[in-house]
């Protein structure tokens, strides 16, 4: 009986204890006063409560929103902030679901210890001369991939030939950047950066020659005769930029050749070691050329003049088979040798003043033969004009 009585008293007392004295949620208060943390450290928000009721906490950070449940510890509600929030920098906004007026925020700072350095260097090649530059952007991050705080110091090192330069830059907007300017010479600039004793890998920046300057051109040929066979070679001087760097291989040079009739012939070449070479076949008649080369939009050359002498002063024409077979030749060149094959010979057939037909043939072994057939040219008198290497012979009233 006695045991039962004691038991009753005890259970009664327990029951009394269990009745909350103040039953409303109004009593919840935040006890944690700290509002700044470092990323990666455990964060626990502690609330005082006299109520057993479980309430949840709304949390929102830079990347998302979630709800967490408390760990109840006698009179306190403890909310352990999950790592996905406590590892990331920025403001974390919280709100107690049972009492929405109870809300607040805390700030998570990055851990000032560099884990990785992301560097972005671009453009990867720049022109020499000191006005062109490339930009190095550095984002040092801590172990949780948070960019370090603004005003963190970063050393940017770059080396070019004998120079080795260290610059200190300050982080702003969660990044730091440095413009790296070219110098007068071409070559490679090696760039790296260091933040809080962690060094980045090395990046390479190519310094390419600058804009080419004006140059001169020259020509070379086997002989000065217009045989329509040999090739004249044009070449440039060594093309350099303002600072004496030879322009990049492959720089495209256009040669414009203006002939006596002001027609323009064009040939082109690309530079190797600063020299571009272009070729042009000799004309097949007496000709004067003036030549000028351009690197379009950037540089040009002087003008050179070339003249080509005629190889043929005169030629013979023989008429056979009722004048229907016309043999032109021998066509002799400057040393009285036969002209190389391929010299164009034109035969124009006139009826009075009216042109009927122009026949064109290339010479072969110094001769060209035309056959005027019966069907095209019925028997009567024609005027025949034969022209080669700009020399013309007329045979009026040739009876076919």
């Amino acid at each position: 009986m006695k045991i039962k009585f004691t038991y009753l008293i005890i259970s009664g007392l327990i029951a009394l204890l269990a009745i909350p004295s103040r039953n409303t949620m109004e009593d919840i208060e935040i006890l944690t006063t700290n509002t700044e943390y470092v990323a990666g450290k455990t964060i626990v928000l502690k609330f005082s409560t006299t109520n057993d009721e479980k309430t949840s906490l709304y949390l929102s950070n830079s990347y998302g929103t979630t709800i967490i449940k408390p760990i109840i510890d006698s009179d306190f509600l403890n909310f352990k902030i999950p790592e996905l929030l406590s590892n990331k920098t920025g403001v974390v906004h919280w709100k107690l679901l049972s009492k929405e007026s109870l809300s607040g925020k805390f700030y998570i700072r990055p851990e000032q210890k560099t884990e990785t350095i992301e560097t972005y260097l671009g453009p990867p090649s720049i022109g020499a001369g000191g006005s062109d530059f490339s930009m190095l952007v550095v984002i040092p991050t801590d172990i949780y991939d948070n960019p370090l705080a603004d005003s963190t110091k970063i050393t940017v090192k770059h080396q070019f030939l004998e120079n080795q330069i260290n610059d200190i830059i300050i982080m702003k907007n969660r990044i730091a950047y440095k413009n790296i300017y070219s110098e007068k010479k071409i070559g490679r600039i090696l760039v790296s950066s260091e933040c809080l004793e962690l060094n980045s890998k090395e990046s390479t920046l190519n310094v390419m020659p600058g804009i080419p300057t004006d140059f001169s051109i020259s020509f070379q040929r086997n002989h000065e005769y217009s045989d329509g066979n040999q090739i004249t070679t044009f070449s440039t001087s060594i093309i350099k930029d303002t600072y004496g760097n030879i322009v990049s291989d492959g720089t495209f040079v256009n040669f414009f050749i203006t002939n006596t009739l002001k027609n323009i012939l064009k040939t082109s070449g690309t530079t190797v070691n600063g020299i571009a070479v272009a070729k042009m076949i000799h004309p097949d008649h007496k000709e004067n050329w003036s030549v000028k080369a351009f690197i379009e939009g950037m540089a040009e050359s002087n003008v050179i003049e070339l003249s080509y002498k005629s190889i043929i002063s005169d030629f013979e024409v023989r008429f056979t088979e009722n004048n229907r077979t016309i043999t032109v030749g021998p066509l002799k060149s400057f040393m009285n040798q036969m002209v190389p094959d391929g010299l164009e010979v034109l035969l124009s057939v006139y009826d009075g003043n009216q042109i009927l037909k122009i026949l064109s043939k290339n010479s072969s072994k110094g001769f060209t033969t035309f056959n005027l057939d019966n069907n095209t040219f019925p028997s009567k008198s024609y005027t025949l004009k034969i022209k080669t290497a700009k020399i013309e012979k007329t045979f009026p009233n040739t009876k076919l």
Partner: protein, 505 residues
Amino acid sequence: MRGINRNIVRSVLVLSYIALIIFILFGISSVYSYLNTGADRSSMLRTEIKKIDQYLPQLEWASLKNEGRVMDDQTLYAIQNDYLDAWYVKHVAFKTNTLTGINDYYTKTARKNIIEFIEQNNDKNISVVSTTLRHHPSLDFFSEDGKLAVITDKDVVEYKRIYQDETILLENTEKSTYKIILLLEDGLWRIRHMIKEESVDNKNKFEPASNNFKAIKGINYYPQDSPWDMFGDKYDTSIIEKDFKIIKNSGLNSIRIFVPYEDFGKAHVKPEKLTKLKKILDLAESENLKVVLTLFDFFGDYSVLNWTLNQHHASAIVSSLKDHKALLGWDIKNEPNLDFESRGKTNVIAWLDNMIDLVKSVDSIHPVTIGWSNTQSTSILKDKVDIVSFHYYEDLDKLDTAIKTMKTEIPNKPLVLQEFGISSYNGLWKPFGSSDEDQANYHKKIQEIIALNNLHFMSWTLYDFNDIPTDVVGRLPWRKKAQEHYGFINKNGENKPAFKYISKE
């Protein structure tokens, strides 16, 4: 007898033969036509991919004062586009706890953070329905090679509703500032780092409209031949002008008209429709009538992800008409309380709340109201509207009490009886309906109550209509017929007895 029988048999045979042939021919032809259908040939080539606007929050770039390379409009637009898409895919991800699109708009390391959240929320059955309504980005930095940009997005207004196990836990609007580092990868500007730098609860305080208005004696207006389709093919300014004269001469001073959401082009308001609306306001102005514009007519999608599209629509209309002299005020939505059941009360109210904020942010001059369909709903959002509007189609004997209740609940805002009326239809579908005289008595009586309580009013409606669109009251003929006869002027253009009480007792 036998002859007749034989003829009957013969004709039945012949007819059934013909029927069979018809049936077979029909069958063959439908097989043939089925085989001839198929993909449109033009679809073999992917000739064009149209951009669909899914997300159009208000966005305003600060003037460009960035460090690094000079920004050009095209790149800035590309960044803006991808940045907003990044927000959109994130909203979708948190709503559905899936990762569609996240890979496109967040770099490999950045997306890890979102994936962790989605996994956690998925485990706990939490889903977050959210949207952002306003962005104020400024460009801080743009790298020389054009591949890295840093922006600060100030005061991003974020609306969130958090569900766990399908029940709402929290509804919250926040205003946050983000620092964002974007990288150009694979032709897309992807978020590399996102840091929330500031965040506060956003509560838009009610700013009363600066425009005052005198006693509203108005009417809900549709032209007789184009009810609920005012801006369609039958749009005719001469008819509207004539009607406005009738309204003016009857002693009324204002009208209420409706802007249908889809007809006006949804997110992208069609300029031609806006011109038509403007002309109506011009006509009202020349008759010295004031106009209450009811937005979002024929609209029922309140889903959070589409709010930005709705707001885009509203801001286009409000900003282009806010300086019009004929404008009296904005009615955000007609009878939204009727959507509570099908669309969720929280959802509809949140939509209205944010829409009021938007309209007020664009036009601070004109009052804003919501056209509640009954007197009980009027206390919803009463602190956010300038005018409390309600519709009354119930028993007139209870109106006075209802007004008294509302006046005690909402002591400091003007009350507008925005729709009331009675159908004078009695006929085949409603043999014991009201007559024209009943209608006249109704209007006489309600005008007495209005005068007694010093109410603003807008009656329903000027005309009896010939044809009610199905969208309005459904297909049921007794409803359609009744809806046709609410007017003060009948189908023949004659004034009904009620016309006498259109503006006074």
